[in-house]
Amino acid sequence: MRPKLLLTHVDSRVKALLIFCMVCLLGCSSSSPRGGSDDKIPSETSHAKPQSVPQDTGGGVGLSSSESGLGEATITSFTKSQASELQERENGDPIPARELLPPTTSLEMRQEAIALAETLVQGFPDNPDALEIKARFLMLFGEVRGAKSCWMEAVRLVPDYAYALHGLGKIAMLDSEYDKAIDYLSRSIPKQPGVAEPVHDLADAYTKLGRLDDALKTLKAFAEANAHSALTWLLLGQAAQTKQDFVQAEQAYRKALELSPGTSRAEQGLATVLMRLGKREEAKQRLEALRASQPSATNNRSPDQVFQDERKECSTRFHSVADFYASSGDLATATRVARRALALDPKNLKAKSTLSKLHLQNGRLPEAIALLKELRTDEPTNASWPFTLGVILVQNGDSKAAAEQYREVIRLAPQNPVGYEALTQLVLGQGNEVKQVIDIAEQLVALRGTAADHELLAQVYAITEDYRQAEKSLKEAIRRDPANPNYLQAMKQLQKVLGTKNE
């Protein structure tokens, strides 16, 4: 009985891409670019402020994270993939080095970023996502009015466009128009269930209007529905503290610290309310520990370091542009922009992942492989990288290397059936040393146990001539999917073989 490989009728590149996307669940973060995962509370110098506001605004003399020094033309060393891209020929022409070199000053970066955003919107004038991306760029560079226009236009096109409503809410907050902010944010939240940031902003708007009960209600509802959100619990604590409900504040701060131990703002808040509740000793202990652990207020970041941080922020936005072009089918532009995102921040893993996907789609397997190998090094515990690498290596005909990757997947994600399935299928497809994967296939069944899994195990037993076990497994498959004609056919064949054996 010859094993049947899945999806043999599908184009191999598409197959690779489909599997790539599917198994991103293996280990990729589930965070959206905007909502983000706020399981942990941001660091001390990264307050929960609107995205447009420079973090750690600090000084009485205006030192913000968007400031930059003169920015020396520091060229970081190319990654291997970048080096290979330099040598690669695309349509016969080498990739221009300027696509791989980062901007040398923040002014240059700003100009490039704004131009990119303008081109995007010009190409997709009635697309609210394009407008949203442009708005985010403009907010990054302080062009608040421009961002507002973009979001207003997006809302005109799609009245319940959540991101734009959220953005308009943020701008209203900046303008101290809190009633307006509440309106926008209230409309945005139902369209982004489970996303914390607009909820936090709404609570902030209520607080600034003195509507503490509304702020508390908003935060409490979200915290109870999203109990993992440490930041929500922290903000709930602060709102309760402002209302002088110190009992509720204490509970909320403790919950925040449970989820994100050592967070200074939660520690400080808890100590403050403990003082109000008369628990002075614990309060003092916590404050002393907090003081000892406080980072220095002095900022010795060089202008170059400031510029590096700006580039990282900008890279995130470039990546969202690349994503946009990719989903619109313009792979060439998507690839170019993804390269720029990576040039701005070589550690932007999302950009790297997107670029590797684009290489796959363009049939540039060596480049995709090089990037995936880098991603493996960048995130050694993320199983999706070796998995995707395995799939591509199979396409490239390197089964041995592919098998190594699948084994790595199993090692990294032993509770996920995908690695077991992939390895089993690979070995079955080779037809050699199938005995090695008996236990792998058995583990697959133990983990997941679908009809297809049982059928796969049956194949393994059959090839290793353990027909009784094969029959047993196939029966399980049929029991789960009784109408499957392939299984029934396979059973007939197996029973014939068993009959011959008996004779």
Binding site: H47, G60, L63, R265, N299
Partner: protein, 560 residues
């Protein structure tokens, strides 16, 4: 037919009334408080100079404070404005200097040259107090470089004494406060210090190509200085032994007051982008820094703010002095409500101060502008970066100032846009001083603007309310009665104020205290707790008066 026409007429009339009343309500009602700009006719022709080196030094952006006080004791409040000076060898034919303007019945005359008060230092902060108890208020000025004491000789002139500086680099002085730490009758002096600055440490900052000055975090913070007044004309540096120098922060505004009502004076220091300090007076010339535990180090979210200016008042009428501070853009001015139990709670977000968060705020002053017995709030604004609007289109260099009316001690309402001509000005403001410049019983305002003329603002609120203005003179206490706490009961409301030297943004004002008395104006009682704890009751004061209260003597003396 007639009936139909009548009905139509009624409907039409009703409709017109409806529309008309809506139009009326949509026209913004004029606020009760009116502040009018009288700069052009005031006689003050000063123009501030920040150094303007062209090199964007941090110290150029944080100048300066100012003082209002009666230097010649003629019953009219005079104005002393601070100035920068040329930095780092820049030549100047006529060096800028601080200037003193004498108030001649509401008109100001420049008396700088004849008074000798025109100090040439790079001045940042000032406080006023009679350090030698000779009856004449002296000036303490913090500079970039040696701090200076201008001794008022009582004849319209000042002598100059320099405080020696320790260390190899010139210190950047900031806020100044005078207080009688040990209640020995002599005013001691506290200088907050900003950062360890030197011209040799070259830091260039750009915001997307626009040059900007570096921030406080680019430098190490400096500890503050406390001088003990030895009573013989000399001062001793007790910064180390007192515990003041045990911590360091980028100090700016400072205010000394008795936060815990234990009859001694404590010190609150604004630190720029760092935790604020609250030094609790432990007696024996010792202080302990308790800002964190007292709840004033950070705002309610636990954030370090760019705290610049500070003032205190009992804004909610509970008998305890509360603290308000000014901060950066997108930071609400912080209002720390004094619980009376040794700690404060930040309630700025819920009392309506959010409107000021769109400005970068500096000078701040509590004052009962409409004399309704509730202290209102004046906040001065102005950005740091010239050209900021080229980078952030929702921010401007020049910004409007803010006026918040206190609504029965529960919250504040911003009334800037409809409170007279003064608040329509868009300027780059820094220090603010509030005092009765025209002796009409209510508080006027002087604002120092960066590299520009100051704004002189007359309070022309058309109200029927009265005030009581109180001037205290100590006998066993320091002569200015700095540290004395006054309670004035008008009707069923008791107001509390403390005599403070040095407040706001590195400024001085309010030596003559103004208590709003509302319309009825019956003063039930006046109680003064003198520095050191002695309490004295005074009777016989009438609303609408300016009075003198002398320590140890029970009568109220009405002043002309």
């Amino acid at each position: 037919m007639n009936r139909k026409r009548t009905l139509e007429g009624v409907w039409l009339a009703w409709f017109c009334m409806f529309v008309f009343s809506n139009c009326l309500s949509s026209v913004q009602a004029q606020s009760a408080i009116r502040l009018e700009d009288i700069t052009q006719t005031s006689g003050i022709d000063f123009k501030h100079f920040s150094g303007q080196s062209g090199e964007n030094h941090i110290i150029e952006t944080v100048t300066s404070g100012l003082a209002t006080f009666d230097y010649d004791q003629d019953g009219w409040i005079d104005v002393y404005v601070l100035n920068g000076s040329p930095l780092h060898g820049k030549p100047f034919l006529a060096p800028p200097k601080n200037r003193l303007y004498q108030n001649v019945r509401g008109q100001f005359v420049d008396v700088t040259e004849q008074s000798g008060a025109g100090d040439l230092g790079f001045a940042l902060g000032v406080a006023v107090g009679d350090f030698d108890n000779d009856g004449d208020p002296d000036l303490f000025i913090s500079n970039f470089g040696p701090n200076v004491l201008l001794v008022n000789r009582g004849d319209g002139t000042f002598g100059r004494i320099e405080f020696p500086q320790k260390g190899a680099f010139p210190r950047v002085g900031a806020g100044v406060s005078l207080l009688d730490v040990d209640s020995d009758g002599n005013l001691d002096v506290y200088f907050s210090n900003y950062i360890k600055f030197s011209f040799e440490k070259k830091i260039k900052r750009l915001i997307y190509g626009i040059p900007a000055a570096p921030g406080p975090k680019d430098y190490d913070p400096d500890s503050d200085t406390l001088y003990r007044n030895m009573g013989d004309g000399s001062f001793e540096d007790v910064s180390e032994s007192s515990g003041i120098a045990s911590v360091a922060g980028p100090g700016m505004g400072v205010v000394a007051f008795d936060f815990d009502s234990d009859h001694d004076t404590d010190i609150f220091v604004c630190n720029d982008s760092s935790e604020n300090f609250l030094f609790e007076n432990k007696g024996n010339f010792k202080f302990e820094e308790i800002g964190l535990i007292a709840g004033v180090a950070y705002d309610v979210t636990g954030a370090r703010q760019a705290t610049m200016g500070v003032d205190v008042a009992d804004f909610d009428g509970d008998g305890h002095l509360d603290i308000v501070t000014t901060n950066f853009i997108d930071e609400i001015p912080t209002l720390y409500r004094n619980s009376g139990k040794g700690y404060f709670d930040d309630i700025g977000p819920v009392v309506g101060l959010g409107a000021a968060s769109r400005s970068l705020t500096w000078g701040v002053a509590f004052a009962d502008f409409d004399l309704d017995q509730w202290p209102d709030l004046y906040i001065a604004s102005g950005h740091l970066i010239d050209g900021i609007s080229r980078v952030k289109d929702n921010e401007t260099f020049a910004q409007p100032n803010h006026l918040f009316r206190n609504i029965n001690g529960a919250r504040f309402e911003e009334i800037s846009s409809n409170s007279g001509t003064a608040l329509k000005a868009i300027q780059v403001s820094r220090g603010v001083a509030v005092d009765d410049l025209d002796n009409d019983g209510d508080c006027d305002v002087v604002i120092l603007n960066l590299n520009d003329k100051p704004q002189i603002v007359r309070n022309e609120t058309d109200h029927k309310n009265l005030s009581l203005q109180v001037h205290l003179v100590g006998k066993t206490s320091n002569r200015d009665a700095v540290g004395a706490v006054i309670q004035v009961k008008v009707g069923d409301r008791t107001q509390v104020q403390e005599v403070i030297s040095g407040r706001g943004y590195q400024s001085h004002f309010g030596s003559r205290m103004t208590f709003g008395c509302g319309a009825s104006g019956t003063i039930e009682s006046i109680s003064v707790r003198w520095p050191g704890g002695n309490v004295q009751e005074f009777n016989g004061a009438t609303a609408g008066e300016r009075i003198l209260l002398l320590e140890g003597e029970g009568q109220v003396t009405a002043l002309p």
